[in-house]
Amino acid sequence: MERFIDPLTLARVKDLPLIARTVADGFLYGLQQSHQRGVGIEFSQYRAYEPGDPLGHIDWKLFARSDRYFVREADRESEITIWFVLDASASMQMASESKPGSWNKFEYARHLLATLSYIGQMQGDHVGLLALGGNHQWMVPAASGERHWHRLLKQLTAVHSTASFPSTTAVESAIKRLQKPGLVIIISDFYQLSDELNEFIKQVSAGHTEVVAMQLQCQDELTFSYKGAIRFEDLETGEQVLVSSAAARKTWLDALASHQRELESFLQKSRIGLTSININEPMDRALYNFLVSRQRAL
């Protein structure tokens, strides 16, 4: 039986909290509770060393006494603040035509954000929301608790995608809020008219904030499965280009690969991890992969 939930099935459910809980509980089941070690971390227990554990985690004093390798485990002592930045530009409305009924990027992002914030609030973290699209700015200050999470969801349902991502000058005050220590998760397609998104990321990551980029892509975009004469229209500018799909396929795939390289290069310079998610694949699998990779990175 398929372990993950079909995205089309989720797309038919209109209850955002329910989806978030279902997805989160589904993939968290069986996933070990996170245990971390380090400054400000309270001791929890020893366990036997397993191949793959960093050598720095071995308690050498205990080794000297027992002649056996033990790893010192600890529970996290204090919660962190997680800011979710949602790209609410019009380009996020892109969806796969080959998968009728599926979410577009914006819908997917909303559900992804709801699920991640649910996980965050379950861990006792403070979660906050900042959605940016055109002149609109939707913000829910970071706080913890289920009631707060519901307030966040309420705001999230009010968000709609429009125009393009705003320039940094327009969201200066919001950026300052994000520059405090914590985690900022940016969910976007990372398409921009000039470099407004890059500038935003630069400024946010300039402080002591850890930034994680989650890039949403769709199946049609990745494989260019269009046929015939296609009139492409830019969701943000309305510009149209009429091409033969057969002739445009290579150009598209080359341009996409180039764009991806540039994005990765830019993020790498700022030490920002990039997670690319295909919105036509199960969301819980994407989340599972994301969380497992983060756990390894820590």
Partner: protein, 454 residues
């Protein structure tokens, strides 16, 4: 020279061409200028070669043409399109009837052969199955054939229809009507008849028949049609036939030299009709061989129906009106039971007869009027009419050997009532192949074309 033409086996199936409306309507309702796809970043395709709207339109027109072609080919397949080949001859074509060849002297043959040599390109063919070409070699290698029973009409017709003779056509035949069969065809083009008397003694003259037509003053149009029929019969069947028309008011028995009495009178009562007959009837030497009564009282409109003529294959006509039988002789003390020869779908007698002595009484319960039936307009009507009047086969044989005149053969070149005999070749294989190719092209174009814009 060969000319190719196209014909249809089943023209009714061309109604299937209405299906061409399907792709046409689809095209009209779906004139997209490229499927619209909204994307997040136009830069991804900006560097691709852009199409012009005209290119998209051209693709759509090509697709439409292909689909129209597919439906048209389907219609033609259903209609059984076939090609017919007609060979054109520029030079004199000489056709010999078997009877002429059988009776020709060596001098006659030499004359024909020398003429053919003097005119390069001319041909001599025998009007017999296979149309053998006649030359000295053929004459030396073959016994003089006996084709007395051969009917040259259909053979000549086939030749004239399958070969488009640009030059003159000569037909050498004897003047015996027997070789021309019993049916009168209409040739598609004039021919030069060269009739000659055979060396052997000619047959006796045909029986001279005399017809008297008694008509009502309001049925002049029918009388004219009947006279035309007699003219044809005289030309082709009974050269000695004579007839006269007598108004009903001035007609009375006995009917002198009256072989056939044709009555076109509106009966009012049995008594009146009975009163016309001589009291001593049938008396020797006074009674006609046939008394044919053509419809009496006009009747109301009835349902149209087709009637098959049982004694003349493949002949049918439309019947619109029928009168009550002019039953004047049914109650006659000398009369027997009527024998119904032709009846309608509702079992009404249309043609009936009975014999009294040597006389046949025939009643045709319709008129020689196109408003009543289409029989009078059909080419075979004179032959049918003659068959009705001549009841003995020996009479048919007798008139068949009657002599005919060249004048009688000339001038009848109406369009042929028979099916064309040109060689036909069915094109269904080529049509099916074209259909498959068009379908493949349609699929290929369809994959490339835009779908409906959203």
């Amino acid at each position: 020279m060969t000319q190719a033409g196209l014909s249809l086996v089943n023209p009714g199936a061309m109604w299937a061409l209405l299906s061409l409306l399907i792709p046409l309507l689809i095209h009209l309702f779906n004139r997209s200028r490229g499927r619209l796809v909204k994307i997040g970043h136009i830069d991804l395709v900006r560097r691709a070669k852009q199409l012009q709207v005209t290119e998209v339109r051209l693709s759509q027109w090509l697709l439409l043409a292909t689909r129209l072609g597919i439906f048209a080919l389907l219609a033609l397949l259903l209609a059984g399109l076939s090609s017919s080949t007609i060979t054109t001859r520029q030079h004199t074509a000489i056709y010999l009837s078997p009877a002429w060849l059988e009776n020709a002297t060596q001098q006659d043959l030499n004359g024909i052969l020398e003429r053919s040599k003097a005119e390069p390109g001319s041909t001599i063919q025998l009007l017999a199955p296979g149309f053998p070409a006649i030359d000295e070699g053929w004459l030396a290698g073959h016994e003089t054939p006996s084709f007395e029973s051969t009917n040259i009409w259909p053979l000549l017709l086939e030749k004239l229809e399958s070969e488009n003779h640009a030059g003159p056509v000569e037909v050498h035949a004897t003047d015996f009507a027997g070789q021309f069969g019993r049916h009168r065809p209409a040739l598609p083009r004039p021919v030069n008849w060269k009739l000659s008397h055979p060396a052997k003694p000619s047959m006796t003259n045909s029986q001279p028949y005399h017809a008297v037509v008694v008509y009502q003053s309001d049925r002049i149009a029918e009388l004219k049609r009947l006279e035309n029929v007699f003219t044809v019969i005289k030309e082709y069947r009974l050269p000695a036939l004579t007839w006269e028309s007598v108004a009903a008011d001035s007609f009375s028995f006995p009917c002198a030299d009256c072989d056939w009495l044709i009555r076109m009178v509106n009966e009012t009562s049995d008594e009146e009709w009975r009163g016309e007959w001589p009291a001593e009837w049938p008396g020797p030497g006074q009674t006609p061989l046939v008394v044919l009564t053509i419809a009496g009282q006009a009747s109301n409109e009835r349902d149209f129906e087709y009637i098959d003529v049982p004694f003349y294959p493949w002949s049918r006509f439309g019947l619109q009106q029928i009168s009550e039988p002019a039953d004047g002789l049914t109650q006659h003390e000398l009369g027997n039971e009527w024998q119904v020869l032709v009846k309608t779908g509702q079992h009404e007698p249309l043609l009936q007869q009975q014999r009294i002595g040597n006389t046949r009484l025939i009643q045709f319960n319709s008129r020689l009027d196109p408003a009543w039936n289409s029989l009078v307009q059909q080419a075979e009507f004179p032959e049918l009419f003659l068959q009705l009047l001549l009841d003995e086969d020996r009479e048919m044989e007798r008139f068949a050997e009657a002599r005919i005149s060249v004048d009688a053969l000339q001038g009848h070149h109406a369009p042929p009532p028979f099916e064309t005999r040109a060689e036909k070749q069915a094109l269904h294989r080529w049509l099916a192949l074209s259909l498959v190719l068009l379908w493949i092209l349609e699929r290929w174009l369809s994959e490339r074309r835009p779908r409906a814009s959203r």
